[in-house]
Symmetry: C2
Subunit: 422 residues, 2 copies
């Protein structure tokens, strides 16, 4: 392999980027991975870090270690701020530049506030490990402050947790927080009863889990209510502050608000002035190339593309991985001078969501599962998809412990400004 070997730059080491790199093992390529974090994050379990069930290191791995056996791969920690498509250079924040022959943009998404960015300080979203430890700190501090609050009304606001948005993340956060309050910390306080904690899930639509079949969503709705979650449908939140939320005509006093309502793609489209949908996702060609740039591909949460059934490909890990596999095949064909494979076709394997630690729903399309058996399948599947035996063992043990004892082991208030930790 020499400097003349074609060079692929992959920006972003999420599910899509890493799958692409894995599928190119042995190809006549040099590969550089650039990410602004040193770790790949298993986002499907991030809500478990935010709710004290898992430690940060159980769902994150150093990117460079994941590819340490691949001598054809260089990993760089750095923030990309632009692409020079003419000169074929990726531009880095620190002024550096990296040449490419092929470029793959797998830069993911952030949460979005639909024009209300001023809500972010009051209603943090969940995309990074820092988001998760921030949310964990807020949840735990609310209980700590409640223990010292003598005013009943203020204490009630401290013990009210609002989750905005009832997709899988909102549902999973709500189910876990109510279990944390009603079970894990049940005996830990002296001045209030944690079972008085209210968890309110607010959804603007007419039902929770719009991506799931209606009967499954209804089952999840009832299961959440049985756990103790209050569900408010059909009214959008129109105000968020340090004191609570306004939805419809209802004001709800709540000191902790979590945002699970919407995402916005990263800035990748702007680097190439590419056409996007409303969420900033690149409207890619059928072969996942960026229009006008046949050597630049985009994948995962960065792109907007339709599935064969006409519905949008969902922003989930299996979709990103399929796109990584597909782009690898395109690049291999190009390198070999072979004809390109046909257009990308998404195959939906299924949708999953958990409700607390005893129930889940799985929608495979051809079969629907729910309840305890679905929860076990969900657990086994997630342990299987974790990277490395070490993490599988560790997460399995953490879950077994929670399952048997109700105790969660990562109840740490850390990493805020000094005055925010107490």
């Amino acid at each position: 392999m020499t400097q003349d070997t074609p060079h692929l730059v992959v920006v972003g080491a999420g599910f899509g980027g890493l799958e692409l790199v894995a599928r190119l093992a042995g190809a006549p390529l040099r590969i550089t991975i650039i990410d602004q974090r040193n770790h790949h994050l298993f986002q499907p379990l991030l809500y478990q870090v935010a709710t004290t069930s898992l430690a940060t290191s159980e769902i994150a791995w150093p990117i460079r270690h994941l590819v340490h056996r691949r001598k054809d791969v260089v990993t760089l920690l750095g923030a990309v701020v632009g692409v020079d498509a003419v000169e074929r250079k990726v531009l880095l924040e620190d002024g550096g530049a990296v040449d490419f022959d092929f470029l793959a943009l797998a830069t993911g998404a952030r949460h979005a506030y639909f024009g209300h960015d001023e809500w972010e300080p009051f209603a943090p979203g969940l995309k990074t490990l820092e988001d998760a430890t921030d949310i964990r700190r807020r949840i735990l501090l609310a209980f700590e402050h409640a223990e010292r609050e003598s005013d009943a009304e203020r204490r009630a606001a401290l013990l009210t947790f609002v989750i905005i948005g009832a997709g899988p993340t909102g549902v999973e956060l709500a189910g876990t927080i109510v279990e944390l309050a009603h079970e894990t910390i049940r005996d830990d306080f002296r001045h209030f009863d944690p079972r008085a904690t209210r968890v309110v899930l607010i959804e603007a639509g007419q039902r929770i889990l719009p991506g799931f079949a209606e009967d499954l969503a209804l089952y999840a709705h009832r299961a959440l209510e049985r756990l103790g979650v209050e569900i408010e449908l059909g009214r959008a939140v129109s105000q968020c502050s340090a004191d609570g939320v306004l939805f419809g005509e209802t004001t709800l006093a709540a000191k902790t608000i979590l945002w699970a309502a919407g995402v916005q793609a990263s800035a990748a489209a702007q680097w190439l002035a590419a056409p996007t949908d409303r969420a900033g996702r690149i409207l890619v060609a059928p072969d996942l190339s960026v229009p006008g740039h046949d050597n630049i591909f985009a994948l995962g949460d960065t792109v907007s593309i339709a599935a064969p059934d006409g519905r949008p490909v969902p922003g989930i890990a299996p979709a990103a991985k399929q796109q990584g596999t597909y782009v690898a095949a395109i690049i291999r064909a190009r390198l070999a001078g072979a004809p390109s494979p046909g257009p990308f076709r998404y195959r939906h394997a299924g949708s999953l969501a958990t409700i607390g630690k005893r129930a889940a729903i799985i929608d495979f399309g051809w079969i629907k599962l729910r309840g305890r058996i679905a929860w076990w399948m969900w657990g086994v599947a997630h342990i299987y998809f974790l990277i490395g035996l070490r993490n599988r063992l560790s997460v399995a043990m953490s879950w077994l412990w929670i399952y048997l004892s109700g105790q969660r082991s990562a109840r740490l208030i850390t990493q805020g400004p000094e005055e925010e930790r107490r």
Copy 2:
């Protein structure tokens, strides 16, 4: 138990404070624990978090959960800023106050720079979980930056790690960092060889580990050198900056400097205008009461007191626990109207330090152990002293994994300002 029941306030839930509370189970007392953190920290293993071997949640537990079965104990998260000894009130930062009949100050210590506080940004010390994740970030970022550095001299500075102070913490940091560089990340980089990493342990005194017998310290010295640590004795550091250190006439270019050279007691002495030693530790009476306040006790790193052999009681967990046990006995005697036990007498059980993952030294006084057998004893002892089966299992698994594979699972760069993470 009524409001007339005497009230003990314990400030600080470290080893001393928690032992005191544990030993007072069943006593006719109300107890309030106040700590500015929500977690008790197992400080002897903090260096393992700083060096990516353990996750934060493996060595920290929510204080209130540790005492959740004790209905006589209230736990408050809060920062104490003063004591009104006449009115018998503990004053909190947020303006609150807590009445007491008995008060125990177990507020610990911070690292100290001997009049050079301006060194702190360049040479962080290790006392809290945040310190540990900060040091972890610095160590991992140095390697990341080295991967992108083309200038040989600057790269060498990035790959030079200086540890100032060769007590147990300095020795343990040095041994683990050199293993991390030479073993764990050996195959992870493409533009430099991690085995070129230099770890330099600088000690002003004439030998490392002054608290240990000379032959054991000499063994540790040789074991560290075999691992690859460079040891510099007899010259104090006189300058610290972002570029490196000056010790004696030697300038050493180093981008990562860690401080393990000295501690300063917390502000507790100032709250009572109590007499202190040079490190700010209260010169307590033989019964650990603060002079002039027979209902106020101090323990752990907050106090300065001599052992029966005339040497100072060391600032280690067993000493703090013995003091907790002793103060509990004093308070029980007072409550019962019985005569006080005699003065506090420290019994030194032994000193331990590890050198990397295969050797340790243990100085019991009557017997001295070193090498692999000492390392296993150290490991078993620390797992035994961890709190709770869950953490024992988890840490045992983490260590077994490191021992067998050399891989460390908490290699995360997190929690710095956004621009510092890359």
